[in-house]
């Protein structure tokens, strides 16, 4: 994991691709940089791609849950994309609670889902 997290901005949406192994230091960096960036650009949505992660386990799942909660407090929605079949099965078998995560198959569908989530949030209903 490099020192700075590459965050792309398209419109009011941020795109982040997490890669390699995540250690505690990397997790802290992600949380700091992502929250600061969301607040700085007043982002409405964040798309997190996890397909580049070496392992996705319960630790990563907890990290994602924390990041999503932080971003929600800043008034934005998050969608996670790039979960492979193997990872999906592992997470379900481990019993990792993932119900709070909004997921999509790819970036394109992820953007569409973000849009729907935002519309739902604007109308005050839940999804």
């Amino acid at each position: 994991m490099s020192e700075t997290l590459p965050i792309l901005k398209i419109g009011d949406t941020l795109l982040v691709a997490l890669q390699g192994d995540l250690d505690d230091a990397a997790v802290v960096r992600i949380e700091e940089q992502l929250t600061q960036e969301v607040a700085r650009v007043h982002a409405a949505g964040v798309l997190i791609d996890v397909s580049g992660l070496t392992v996705v386990d319960s630790f990563i799942a907890r990290v994602l849950a924390r990041v999503v909660a932080m971003i929600r407090l800043l008034g934005a929605q998050t969608v996670v994309v790039g979960i492979s079949p193997a990872v999906a099965i592992t997470l379900v078998e481990l019993g990792v609670p993932m119900g709070h995560l909004d997921t999509a198959l790819n970036a394109e569908q992820g953007l569409a889902l973000l849009r729907r989530l935002r519309a739902a949030a604007d109308h005050g209903s839940d999804r």
Partner: protein
């Protein structure tokens, strides 16, 4: 106990207690003492033999070659003489005896006589004969190995199975029957077994192989048992040729795979819509395969909606519901929505009565209704997608 008379009385007292035949002899081999076990063994009462030469137990041949002198001289020379041979009972029947002769000396060191211990080993011989007969008649190839891994005994089946004569095998290390590529590891395992020997099958869950004299290999199953013998610990390996069984197992596995394949079809019913008709009972193995097949297809076809049709599932209990929920959760993680279809009234009742929480899972009575819902979802999503694309395009310009 310095008094010879006392010593003799002690000796006689001891002699009445043991189960071996004990005769005390004078320096010329004439019987002076005869215990009960000796009577039991030979049929001679004590008063019949006392005063006569112990050579009355010998066969004619042994008498002719003066075995008595050999036994007594041998015992005097080394302090102990051991032999095994045929002896004759009073009734003329013969038995096989293990014999130990030791000299007796007085307080001043001069020879006062001998003590001779006789043990009937006929039954041991019979045991050995039975052991050999058992070994030869066993349906498995049997190979007995000493702690150095050298073969000490093989049976007929082993000769047939491996294509060797037994003379070629005895004295060789057991690795001669192990394929070259596995030999190094085998030596290591073999040492381990001798260190902590117990009856057990060898290489549980491993596919084991033996190699014939002509170099061809055969799949085998091996059961090991330690044998504690007078030559030290040996290991008996019972080897079974499982060529046929392995082939059968392989065939069975292939058939099961085919059936699995047939029983978990994932059908693309529309663009980005998959249907998974589940027919029959859903156990954990099948549920895992089903989930795997479904997720692969979701990735491959970029599907957005999955219809799980359970009209073919006879009963939905807690376990089946758990499997279904796991499948739905995994599909959701990949970004696909799930719709349950084919829920019959009795299934709906059962699910609610069992207190199964299917969460936010959408459900329809028929596949038709489920497909309508699926298409609705796809339409909503694609319009959201084009709007999102427009947003992105707008931002980029």
């Amino acid at each position: 106990m310095s008094d010879d008379g006392t010593r003799l009385r002690v000796l006689e007292a001891v002699a009445t207690l043991v189960s071996d035949g004990i005769a005390t002899l004078d320096p010329q081999g004439v019987v002076v003492g005869w215990n009960a076990a000796a009577t039991e063994l030979t049929g001679y009462e004590a008063d019949e033999v006392i005063g006569r030469s112990v050579s009355l137990l010998y066969t004619e041949e042994d008498t002719a070659r003066d075995l008595l002198a050999t036994e007594l001289d041998g015992s005097r020379g080394s302090g102990r003489f051991e032999t095994e041979g045929v002896r004759v009972r009073k009734d003329g029947s013969r038995f096989r005896a293990a014999v130990v002769v030791a000299p007796l000396t007085g307080a001043d060191g001069e020879l006062t006589g001998f003590v001779k211990v006789l043990r009937d080993v006929t039954s041991r011989r019979a045991d050995e004969a039975m052991f050999n007969a058992l070994l030869e008649s066993a349906p498995d190839a049997m190979v007995i190995v000493d702690p150095d891994g050298r073969i000490t005994l093989v049976n007929r089946q082993a000769e047939i199975m491996f294509g060797y004569h037994r003379e070629e095998l005895v004295g060789q290390t057991i690795e001669v029957l192990v394929p070259q590529r596995l030999r190094g590891r085998h030596v290591h395992h073999r040492d381990g077994f001798f260190a902590a020997a117990q009856v057990r099958p060898m290489g549980v869950d491993l596919d084991l192989f033996g190699v014939r004299k002509d170099g061809s290999e055969l799949p085998v199953e091996i059961s090991l048992s330690p044998l504690d013998t007078d030559r030290g610990r040996q290991v008996c390996a019972a080897i079974r040729d499982v060529t046929e069984r392995r082939e059968q197992a392989e065939r069975l596995r292939r058939q099961r795979d085919e059936i699995m394949e047939l029983s978990t079809p994932v059908i693309q019913v529309w663009d980005r819509v998959l249907a998974l008709p589940i027919i029959g009972t859903l156990d954990s193995g099948r549920a895992a395969r089903l989930t795997e097949a479904l997720l692969e297809k979701i990735g491959e076809l970029q599907a957005e909606v999955v219809i799980l049709d359970i009209s073919g599932v006879p009963t939905v209990d807690t376990l089946v519901a758990q499997h279904l929920l796991k499948t739905v959760q995994a599909a959701t993680l990949m970004g696909a929505s799930s719709i349950l279809s084919g829920v019959r009234p009795e299934t709906a009742q059962a699910i609610v009565h069992l207190g199964i929480d299917l969460g936010r899972l959408r459900s329809r009575n028929t596949l038709r209704e489920a497909l309508q819902l699926a298409l609705q979802i796809v339409r909503d999503r694609s319009s959201a997608m084009s709007e999102a694309a427009a947003d992105v395009a707008g931002a980029a310009w």
